[in-house]
Assembly symmetry: C2
Homo-oligomer: 406 residues x 2
Amino acid sequence: MKLNENFLKLPGSYLFAEIDRRVSAYAAAHPDKKLIRLGIGDVTRPLAPAVVEAMHRAVDEMGKEETFRGYPPYRGYDFLVNAIAEQDYRARGVELTAEEIFVSDGAKSDCGNIGDIFGTDNVVAVCDPVYPVYVDTNAMAGRAGEYDPKTEQWGRLVYMPCVKENDFIPKVPKEKVDLIYLCFPNNPTGAAATREQLKAWVDYANANDAVILYDSAYEAFITQPEIPHTIYEIEGAKRCAIEFRSFSKTAGFTGVRCAYTVIPKELVRNGVSLNEMWYRRQSTKFNGVSYVVQRGAAAIYTPEGRRQVEETIAFYRSNAQVILSGLSRAGLEVCGGVNSPYVWARTPDGMGSWDFFDRLLTEANVVTTPGAGFGPSGEGYIRVTSFGGADATREAVERIVALLKR
Amino acid sequence: MKLNENFLKLPGSYLFAEIDRRVSAYAAAHPDKKLIRLGIGDVTRPLAPAVVEAMHRAVDEMGKEETFRGYPPYRGYDFLVNAIAEQDYRARGVELTAEEIFVSDGAKSDCGNIGDIFGTDNVVAVCDPVYPVYVDTNAMAGRAGEYDPKTEQWGRLVYMPCVKENDFIPKVPKEKVDLIYLCFPNNPTGAAATREQLKAWVDYANANDAVILYDSAYEAFITQPEIPHTIYEIEGAKRCAIEFRSFSKTAGFTGVRCAYTVIPKELVRNGVSLNEMWYRRQSTKFNGVSYVVQRGAAAIYTPEGRRQVEETIAFYRSNAQVILSGLSRAGLEVCGGVNSPYVWARTPDGMGSWDFFDRLLTEANVVTTPGAGFGPSGEGYIRVTSFGGADATREAVERIVALLKR
């Protein structure tokens, strides 16, 4: 009996599990300290009233024989899929059919599982720093090669540094790569790609027969009108890009679990439709999303739902402003936070990011995310999220300011 | 860019998608006909009142800041995991810790995704007939070799015929296999394994360093006291077996989506804990199950919840009796239905199972599942489920009786 040996190559534990471990250990040893958590990108605002109401109605339907629903459609209910096509895409000039949208339990699941449809010998390009799921799932599938603890990189992955010098937007690589993970607005740096920057990627992918895996989970936080909300706003993207979206950060669904993935019918390789491959994958290894959850998600597209969700996003945006200005005041170099819920802050005096994480945890009792956890180029940064409460965010920022002014 | 070529080897579409296609085509051409669906194993009874109430409470909690919950724990909430450990296991003399139970969105997802932790060069044994997910997911991962349309079998899979001659319980193979999928009470045949039959498998697995993937999704339908409800009732099973459970058929959760998988800490291969590997897989490619759904699942373990769920199961059991006796009356040879919601019926006059499926669809307007869809040894059988309404089930059986008496 052979295990998947690729798992054994993975260094340490998954980033957020490791943070969890450190925070739990500290909290257990100091039960009197009031921790403020601006680390993991988890939301804190309650569900919108329109969502709550829709979920109640759906629960009642499930409790009555006449309106009970069994297995959901593999791709999602029409009432949700059509709302997505209409409001998230048609409203931006992008036409999608219902068959091009796949509702799921989370963008993390989809970003990980999408690898199932690709060969294990593809060359994968990722940003550095990067959301660890892209790297770890490819390592598990055997696409990453061997891990080098010295460089903290995998031998077969192509790393695209996103650093101050390129405004945290990667350039297209000189070599030929096959699968390209892009995430804009970016997690963790908060950088957003312009139309021109995305166009270069779409052109590269189409010229090189590559596929772009575009994670657009933070799209709702875009404020600057020139920033595209979906990669399909770029000419040619339907022939080369898969887009991942999530209700986690838009509508506070981290604990409700709903997301979707778009695979256009035009996305064909060697005569094979990637849409059909994914449908086969989902219909074989997945059984759809809870009816109650899909009803909740659909409520976001009603006029009240939209208004309520926009209020929540405005709330988090205001936190981002507090963090941006506070950390600047504390003398830290900051970016992100404008089109993104994440602020990316340089550690003081060239401090290591896990060291700065530990210092903020133990001396300011604020939980952040160490940049190094996102890859070598994240070293020297921390990520701070705007998903906390307003008072808690203000207090956390004050504590950090006070600590750094000491 | 290379696709996962294994996908391209898959013959036709997933069984239930194909049934769906035929039924939709027939329904569209004959809008006046009243179809009765006893095909796909989908339930029809509404959620238990205790579940509905618990979900309403959870929705309300999610709508208030003080009680809102974000990302669920990767393994499931303690309130659910502890109830599972206590009532599904400790009550049967099986001790499990909370870390050995992983709550998920469905047993189908888990049965498919579990392959991630195993090497692609393992030899996989499956029953024939078999729930297609085991075969198709292994084919997708490259463990099945090549598909031979003539034999309708995959070159590298070891098929264990479950036929009348062995009472539909497979014998341990003579060759060495690494991964063994067992499902009892069985889908599709309805056969249930005794303690002695399971003991032979556990002993084989421990002697051969194999892992048993034990699908126990229909456990709640067991009526005979001598039949074990979990494989861990068998001495030695914790060292070789992973067990999949589901709330789909117990509590009518096909549209709610909740299940769990048990991986004992004792299950270690080459010094590596499979429990830890699965935790790593889930924490990297999955983000837990909706809080509202987990609260609904936990309500099944309350005294009212248990009583209500038992009523529902009794309802389906009574359908199974109607089907068993009706099809016998119609002259068909039947089995299953006693410890299982499925009745496995031989087609009349050696008719092919897709032909009999089509005949029942077009002449009796009853949807069943053709046995051949579950593998070569399913040829000559159909599966009939007891998950319909009581009146619909009676009417379907009457129609079949009338058709076969013509």
